[in-house]
Symmetry: C2
Subunit: 139 residues, 2 copies
């Protein structure tokens, strides 16, 4: 059971806190009456899928004794035009930096996260097609 409390703090700002003890500020943009003091709620979904799969990929590459020096995910979400608008497609580009990191290890790590471990991906794929790619950069 995962829990979050989300509290209205004025304007269009909300502060969320969760069982792990951390708070996240959300706000709308000025175009819809907000003051842009925090992330948009829809942005949190993309951050979540990047973080969730990133943790898997790092764990797996470490177990495979790969010398990883950096990992980055660029996540893009495309929304439907019709209401209720939702993500119909999410694209993730992973950039793995390291020394002698093998393509096989990265391919396997990304695949395992996408197919088996990443709970955010497993949840979002109910609505959106999720595509991913990776690049390896020698450090």
């Amino acid at each position: 059971m995962v829990k979050a409390n989300v509290k209205y703090t004025g304007g269009m700002q909300f502060v969320a806190s969760s069982d792990s003890g951390h708070a996240v500020v959300m706000d709308a943009g000025p175009e819809v009456g907000g003051s842009n003091t925090g992330s948009r709620p829809m942005e949190l979904l993309l951050m979540g899928i990047g973080g969730c799969s990133g943790m898997d990929i790092i764990s797996i590459l470490k177990k495979k004794k790969q010398n990883v020096t950096g990992l980055e995910a660029n996540v893009t979400g495309t929304m439907s035009d019709d209401y209720p608008q939702k993500y119909t497609e999410i694209t993730i580009e992973y950039i793995v930096r390291g020394r002698g990191v093998t393509e096989e290890a990265v391919k396997r790590a990304v695949q395992l996260s996408m197919d088996k471990y990443c709970s955010v991906k497993a949840t979002l794929k109910g609505a959106a097609q999720i595509r991913f790619s990776y690049r390896i950069v020698e450090d």
Copy 2:
């Protein structure tokens, strides 16, 4: 098109930033090698649905000239046991505080958000059953 960049910052910590210009720290708990310096990725989904629908509800109640003094959402997510684990059920309890706020207005606002406006809800309902309730507290 919504975008986020998620960067590995050591241990199991990731820092996400998005087009709106805000950053969110994510981390795993110590039980899986993290240091709990930030939210769990799966928590962000619950925060997102609370913030997204909260913004709708506040906007609609303001348009209906309701004297709202506070709004809170308690969000709970139940995950599947099987891998890939995902949310199968999300429950949201809204607590609306105000002076003379009518049940009809709150019911309508919540319903409109759930059925028509909240993009996070529309995305997550692909995987999870989403249940909600509300309470009105006279302030």
